[in-house]
Each structure stands twice: as structure tokens, then as C-alpha cells.
């Protein structure tokens, strides 16, 4: 139900943008992919072990872990400088934690997106499903920039670099019990920062 509300909201925003746009809106469809290694992670959790002990674990620091992402996007360029997209796909956040994000993204083009190659900045944010559910309360946001090269009048290739932050409540891993079930978790919270470098191809 929560996913349904989210999708309806996103569709409403896109339709509203189209209604308020001054000129013709160009709808675009494409894909994003790239390399997004985790650089920093903070994790705090409190849980009961199988035999009833209360355990609190905390870790914080620089932690490199290889990750990537593959997203499919749909959106519109509302004028020469602004574009809005909805993106979803497959993304790794940290070790053994891969999600299906649902992101809203705004892009601003410095020289006007329909005039040719130009640099841009982008901001996106959203939520993510893990194993088909929102139970981990994963939220994501990223800020970055890139350069758009038009291959033709309707096809563009972007090179994008961005910093990504995420927050979620993952299940902790106990060295004796394994993955701790949610019924025994009192508190769990993780922050993660990643640096991402990727490409986008939009039609």
C-alpha cells in the first residue's frame, strides 16, 4: 500500500510539472549505471541474543566496499534548464545489502539542455525496497554533477559523479547466532556514504 501511494505521488508530480511547463515538455526514457563504492559507514544496533543477553554493537569509520548500480529512469525536461526523473533499478549499498531504490531526481543544466553539450548538477532522493519490502526504512539521497553529451537530437550520454548518503535499519549479524531476527532487535541504525561514478544513456 505504501509503495502504491508513493508511485501515485510520483506520477502526480510528473503530471503537474507537465501542466505548469511553459513550453513543450520532452519526455525521456533511459538507463543509468555505474560504480558506487562505499567509503564510510556508521552502524549501531542493540538486540537480544538467542539465550537472552542484551548486546549493543557500534562501529564507525572508513570502510571501502565495492558496489554498483543499474537504474532505469523515466522523466521529463520541463524547460531548457530543468529536468525531473523517476528512477528505479538495482543498487548495492553495503556488504550483503542490495536494494531496489525508487528515486526522484532533479537536474539543472547550466547552458540549457536543448542547446547541446553542457555541464549540469543533480540532486536525487528516495526510498528503497530490500527483498521486496520497506521494512528496513531505507532512505537515499545524493548530490552530484556531470556533463551531458548529445549523440543526436534525441539521444544523450551523461558522465555523472556524485556523493551518496543513505540511512536504514538493517538486521545486525551476531557472530554466534547469525542474522538476528527482527523480533529480537531493540534498535538498529546505519548510515553509509558512497562516491559514485557512472554513465547515463537517455533517449
Amino acid at each position: 500500500m505504501r509503495l502504491k501511494h508513493l508511485l501515485v505521488s510520483i506520477a502526480s508530480v510528473l503530471i503537474s510539472l507537465q501542466a505548469f511547463a511553459a513550453g513543450p515538455v520532452r519526455m525521456r526514457l533511459g538507463t543509468d549505471w555505474g560504480y558506487s563504492p562505499q567509503l564510510f559507514q556508521s552502524f549501531v544496533s542493540t538486540y537480544y541474543t538467542r539465550i537472552g543477553y542484551r548486546v549493543t554493537e557500534q562501529s564507525r569509520g572508513f570502510d571501502y566496499y565495492t558496489n554498483g548500480y543499474l537504474l532505469f529512469g523515466f522523466g521529463c525536461e520541463v524547460n531548457r534548464r530543468c529536468a525531473f526523473y523517476v528512477k528505479t533499478g538495482y543498487m548495492g549499498l553495503f556488504e550483503d545489502f542490495r536494494v531496489m531504490p525508487i528515486l526522484c531526481e532533479a537536474q539543472y543544466f547550466f547552458n540549457g539542455s536543448k542547446e547541446g553539450d553542457c555541464p549540469f548538477v543533480m540532486l536525487n532522493g528516495g526510498v528503497a525496497l530490500n527483498s521486496g519490502s520497506f521494512i528496513d526504512n531505507t532512505i537515499l539521497a545524493s548530490l552530484g554533477g556531470g556533463y551531458r553529451h548529445y549523440l543526436s537530437g534525441t539521444t544523450s550520454l551523461d558522465i555523472v559523479a556524485r556523493i551518496q548518503a543513505s540511512n536504514c535499519t538493517p538486521q545486525p549479524y551476531d557472530k554466534y547466532d547469525g542474522l538476528v531476527p527482527r523480533s529480537r532487535i531493540i534498535f538498529s541504525n546505519a548510515h553509509q556514504f558512497a562516491l559514485s561514478l557512472g554513465l547515463s544513456l537517455y533517449f
Binding site: 549505471w33 565495492t66 554498483g68 543499474l70 548495492g92 556488504e95 550483503d96 542490495r98 553529451h149 548529445y150 549523440l151 543526436s152 537530437g153 534525441t154 539521444t155 550520454l157 554513465l199 544513456l201
Partner: protein, 181 residues
């Protein structure tokens, strides 16, 4: 570094090296392999050769493994049809070649099974040539070969088997973004 040297030596050893020129250098993007590609053309020929240095992403994409395999891929491709559109030229091609490297293979056992692989490849795809200096190739390739590895259960023994991933992953498209010269 050794693989790069071998690749360059392979390029230099081409019998028609005097007439061959590097036409494009690109980045290979796929769920199965990622890496760098060099495309050469020969004067008067309708085909081209692609040489790729790839990292094999089997097990890495789904988080089961933390390090990828590596392989080299060569393919001779012939253009079989072309079509002009308003914004780009479209070339359909197919070809064959060889690949080899150190990769994992499909296994029903819960063990990692990296080993040496050597195979023949068949390749088909489309090259989109744009006005600027960027071209895009979308292709599919299958690999039929052998995989030599240490036995998953008995460390002192070796196993030689068909390289199953070469066929199991042939449906995955491979998008190469080329910068042309």
C-alpha cells in the same frame, strides 16, 4: 599490466599490421563483463576486429563474491547490413573469435570455483555511428569453451569441464561506448 602487454603484443603481431589502424577505443558495460575495448579496421575490409580486456562480474553483481575474474576477448566482426537514419548510421554485424582468462563458472555447489577458461566466441550486434566522436555498440556474445579449476571438494585434484557461463550468460546484452578516431 601483463594482460595489457599481451594485448598490445597480440595487436602488433597481426599479419596485416601495416594496414591496420585503431578505429575506436571504448568502455564495455554489461552485467557479465566490464572493461576496455579497442576496435581496429583494415583498409579495404568490410569488417573490424575487437580486442577487449574485461573483468568478469560473475558472483560480484549479486554480492556473493568480492573480487571479479579477468579475461581477454578477441572477435572479428563482419558488417552484414547497414541502414541510415536521420541522426545516426546503423551497422548490423556478426562475428567470431576467442577468449580466455581466469574466471568463475556456474556451479550448484556453494563454493567459489575460479579457474582458467579458454573458449571460442560468437558475436552479433549493432553499431550506432553518430555524428560526433562517440559511437555505441550493443551486442550479444556466446562463449563455448573449457574451464580448468581446482576441485571444489578435493583440493589436490583438478576439474576440466565445459564453461557453462559462456552459454548461460549469452542473453545478457553488452553495451560498449566507443570514442572514435
Amino acid at each position: 599490466m601483463h594482460l595489457i602487454l599481451v594485448l598490445l603484443a597480440f595487436l602488433a603481431a597481426n599479419p596485416a599490421a601495416g594496414q591496420v589502424r585503431i578505429a575506436r577505443i571504448g568502455i564495455v558495460n554489461s552485467l557479465k563483463d566490464m572493461g576496455l575495448a579497442v576496435q581496429t579496421v583494415e583498409n579495404g575490409s568490410t569488417g573490424f576486429n575487437s580486442y577487449s580486456l574485461l573483468i568478469n562480474m560473475d558472483g560480484v553483481i549479486n554480492g556473493e563474491e568480492s573480487w571479479p575474474g579477468a579475461k581477454m576477448h578477441w572477435c572479428h566482426q563482419e558488417i552484414i547490413a547497414s541502414r541510415d537514419f536521420e541522426d545516426f548510421h546503423c551497422f548490423f554485424y556478426f562475428g567470431g573469435g576467442a577468449s580466455g582468462g581466469f574466471v568463475r563458472d556456474f556451479s550448484t555447489l556453494q563454493h567459489s570455483n575460479p579457474g582458467m577458461m579458454a573458449s571460442m566466441t560468437a558475436d552479433a550486434g549493432v553499431l550506432l555511428r553518430y555524428r560526433g566522436n562517440i559511437d555505441i555498440a550493443l551486442d550479444w556474445y556466446a562463449e563455448i569453451g573449457m574451464h580448468l579449476r581446482k576441485d571444489e571438494n578435493y583440493v589436490d585434484k583438478y576439474n576440466l569441464s565445459w564453461y557453462a557461463n559462456g552459454l548461460l550468460h549469452c542473453w545478457m546484452p553488452c553495451l560498449t561506448i566507443y570514442c572514435k578516431f
